[in-house]
Amino acid sequence: MLRVEDVDVEDRTYAVTPGWFALEKLRESIQTVGLLIPLRLETDAVRKLRLISGFRRLKAAQGLDIKEIPCIISSPKPPREVFMEALWENLACRSFTEVEKGVALNKLRNQFGSEESELIKEFLPLLELRPDRFHLERYLSIGELPEIIQKAMILEGLSTDIALGISRWRKQEQVLFIELVARYQLGRNRQKGFFEMLRDLRKTLRTTASTVWKQVGAEEIDKDSELSPQDRLAGIHRLLRAQRYPNLTQHEEKYRKLRNSLSLPSGTKLDVPPYFEGSRVSFTIDASSAGELRNLVRKSKDLLDRQELDEIFALL
C-alpha cells in the first residue's frame, strides 16, 4: 500500500488519458468494491514516485479521499520501455478513444523518439488505425487539439472531422459551435450541416462564425425562450441556409407560395423534383375508396385553369 500523497500527481509523462475524463463509473466502482487493480509506479531518486498506469484510478481515489492505495513499484527502466508497457497494459483492457490515440502518438513522436515510419508501421496498427500517412497526420492533429475541443469530442460527441475543422477557428467561434452542439444535442449529421454552413459563410463573408451567427439573426432566435428548442434550432437552420443558398431558398419560397395558393384538396399532393433538378411535376391522389377517389378527381378539376400550374413548371 502506498500513501496517495507520495505520488507526484502532476507528472503525466506516461499518461494518455486526459485528466478531465469522466470518473463517475470508476468512483462508484471503487466506493463499492474498492481499488482492485494496483497502480503501477516507478521510483525516481530525486522526485516523488512517478505513476506509470492508473491515472484515472488515482484521481478517483483522491476524489473519494482515500489515503492509501495498492501499488506495484518498478525499478527505473528506459522511459520509452515504461511507456510501451503502460500502452500495452491499457490497450489490453479497453479500446482507446480517438483523443487518447492522438495523445499516445504525439507522446511517442515527441517524448519517446519514434520516427514517422515506425509510427505508421508499428503503432497505427496497434491502435487499430490504418497504417498510412493520412491517418498518422489526422491522429497527431487530434492529439494536439485544444482541451476544449477534445473535451467536446468525448463529452458532447463532437465529430472528429468537425473537431479538426473548428480547430482552425478562433476560440470564441469554437465555443459558439461547441455550445450549439451541446445545447441542442446535435447528432453527427446535424453537426455537419451547421458546421458546413457556418464554415462557408465565414469564408464568403470574410468574417468569423460568431459574426455570421449575429448577422443572420441566429443569436436572436437562439435566445428566444418562447420557442421550443426544436423550433429554435429549425429557425437557426433556416436563417443560415437562406444565407448560404439564397437562390435555392428563394425558389423554394416561390414554389411554396404557388402551391399554397392552389389550395390542393386534402388527399392530393403536388411534388417537384429534389432541388428542382428535372422537368417533371407529379400530382398524386391518395384515396381509400372509389367514392373518395371520384370525389378527389372532381375537386382536382378546379386546378385545370390555374395559372399557378404554369408558374410551377416555369420554376423547373
Binding site: 500517412r133 469564408k203 464568403t204 439564397p246 437562390n247 435555392l248 425558389h251 432541388y275 433538378e277 422537368s279
Partner: protein
C-alpha cells in the same frame, strides 16, 4: 505552365524500346531511371507511401497499357437513372494524371494512384486505332486525349502528339482533339495534320486561372499558343469549362470571350463547349483539404440526379445563356454545345429539343470534315 521535371522515371521493361520511352529518356538526361518488371505494385503502394499528391507526381512511370486505349467518353454513361446530353465523344487514354494542379480537377478523386503515368506502347495504340477507326469507315469519330491527362503538357518530352497527328491526318472519318491548359505546341507546328487535328484550350478568366488553375499556362500564353496553331493551319477549339460562378463572373467571362475572338478568327474555331462547375461530393472534400483558399466549394452547389454537385439550375442556365449570347455576338457561326448537361437545361439554353448524342457528335465532326 510550370515545367514538369520528374525526380525519377520508372520504366517497365516491356516498353524499354518504345519510341515514347526513348523520347522521354533522351529529354531527361539527368533524371534517375529505374527499370521495373511491372508498375502494378509501385502504383498500388504509391498513395500510402507518399505524403502529398503533389510530391507523388514527381515520379513518372512509363508503362505498358494492357487494356484498351480507345473508349467511349464516360460522359455517355447513364448514372443513377439520369441521362445527360453528351457529344458522342471518344477518348484515348494515353496517360493518367497531370502535373498541373487545378483545384477542381476530378482526377484527384478519381485516380487510384498519385504518380504520373504515360503508356508508352504507342505501337499498340495505333494498331487499336486502325481496328476501331480505319476499319469502320462509315462511322464518324471525334476523339480526344484529354480525359485522364492533359493532351499536351508532357508533349515536350514524350512526343506523343507526333504519331497521333500523323495517324489522324490520314483518316477521313475521324478527327483528333488535343485538349490542354498548356502552351506546349512546339511539336505540332510544322506537322502535316491535314486539318484532322483540332487543338483545344480550356479557358477561364485570369482571376480563376490564377487562383484555381495552379501550375498551368496563363490565359495569355494559351491564347498565344492558339494563335500559333491557327497560323500553322490547325482548327482550334475552346472549352469554357468549368465555368465558375462568383460575383464578377459576368464581366470576367464576357471579357475573356471578347479577348479570345479579338485574337482568334472565328472561322478557325471548330467548336466551343460550355460546362458549369460540377463535381462529385468526394471531390469537394478533396478541394477543401488540398486547396483551402479555393472559392469553388462556396458556390451554390446542389446534388443533381447524376450524383454530382452542380450549381442550382437557374444559376447555371443563366451562365450558359449569357455565354452563348456573348459567343454568338462575336463568333456567330461557331458551334456551341453544353458538356454533360441535363436535357431540360439544354432545351432552355439552346431553345430547341435537345439532340441525341449521335446527332450532336455528328454535327461537330462535320465542322472539320
Amino acid at each position: 505552365m510550370k515545367k514538369y521535371k520528374p525526380d525519377i522515371v520508372y520504366v517497365e521493361t516491356s516498353v524499354e524500346d518504345s519510341a515514347i520511352t526513348k523520347n522521354v529518356l533522351s529529354s531527361l538526361p539527368h533524371v534517375s531511371v529505374q527499370r521495373i518488371d511491372s508498375s502494378t505494385e509501385l502504383l498500388e503502394n504509391a498513395r500510402e507511401l507518399n505524403p502529398s499528391l503533389a510530391r507523388a507526381k514527381k515520379s513518372l512511370v512509363l508503362a505498358e497499357h494492357k487494356g484498351e486505349f480507345f473508349k467511349a467518353c464516360p460522359g455517355q454513361q447513364v448514372k443513377g437513372g439520369s441521362r445527360n446530353i453528351c457529344c458522342n465523344y471518344y477518348v484515348i487514354n494515353f496517360a493518367s494524371n497531370c502535373h498541373m494542379e487545378c483545384s477542381y480537377c476530378y482526377l484527384q478523386a478519381y485516380l487510384n494512384f498519385p504518380h504520373m503515368v504515360v503508356y508508352a506502347n504507342v505501337e499498340d495504340l495505333i494498331a487499336e486505332l486502325v481496328s476501331q477507326i480505319s476499319n469502320h469507315p462509315k462511322q464518324y469519330f471525334r476523339v480526344g486525349t484529354g480525359e485522364l491527362a492533359d493532351s499536351l503538357a508532357l508533349d515536350g518530352f514524350t512526343g506523343y502528339s507526333l504519331p497521333l497527328v500523323e495517324f489522324f491526318s490520314k483518316q477521313r472519318n475521324a478527327v483528333l482533339e488535343l485538349k490542354t491548359k498548356s502552351n506546349q505546341i512546339q511539336n505540332l507546328v510544322g506537322l502535316n495534320h491535314n486539318g484532322r487535328t483540332v487543338v483545344a484550350w480550356s479557358l477561364n478568366p485570369p482571376f480563376i486561372q490564377f487562383s484555381e488553375e495552379h501550375k498551368t499556362s496563363s490565359i495569355e500564353e494559351r491564347l498565344t499558343a492558339a494563335e500559333k496553331c491557327v497560323e500553322a493551319g490547325y482548327p482550334v477549339a475552346f472549352h469554357f469549362d468549368p465555368i465558375i460562378h462568383y460575383p464578377e463572373w459576368r464581366r470576367d467571362y464576357r471579357d475573356l470571350i471578347k479577348e479570345t475572338f479579338a485574337r482568334i478568327p472565328s472561322g478557325s474555331v471548330a467548336w466551343i463547349s460550355l460546362g458549369a462547375l460540377r463535381m462529385p461530393d468526394t471531390l469537394k472534400e478533396v478541394i477543401q483539404r488540398r486547396f483551402p483558399d479555393s472559392i469553388l466549394p462556396l458556390g451554390e452547389l446542389i446534388p443533381a440526379p447524376d450524383g454530382k454537385l452542380r450549381y442550382f439550375k437557374p444559376i447555371r442556365t443563366e451562365m450558359y445563356e449569357l455565354m452563348r449570347k456573348w459567343v454568338g455576338e462575336l463568333g456567330s457561326d461557331v458551334p456551341v454545345y453544353a458538356c454533360m448537361e441535363r436535357p431540360e437545361v439544354w432545351e432552355r439554353v439552346f431553345g430547341a429539343t435537345h439532340p441525341s448524342n449521335e446527332a450532336l457528335g455528328d454535327s461537330l465532326v462535320q465542322v472539320v470534315s
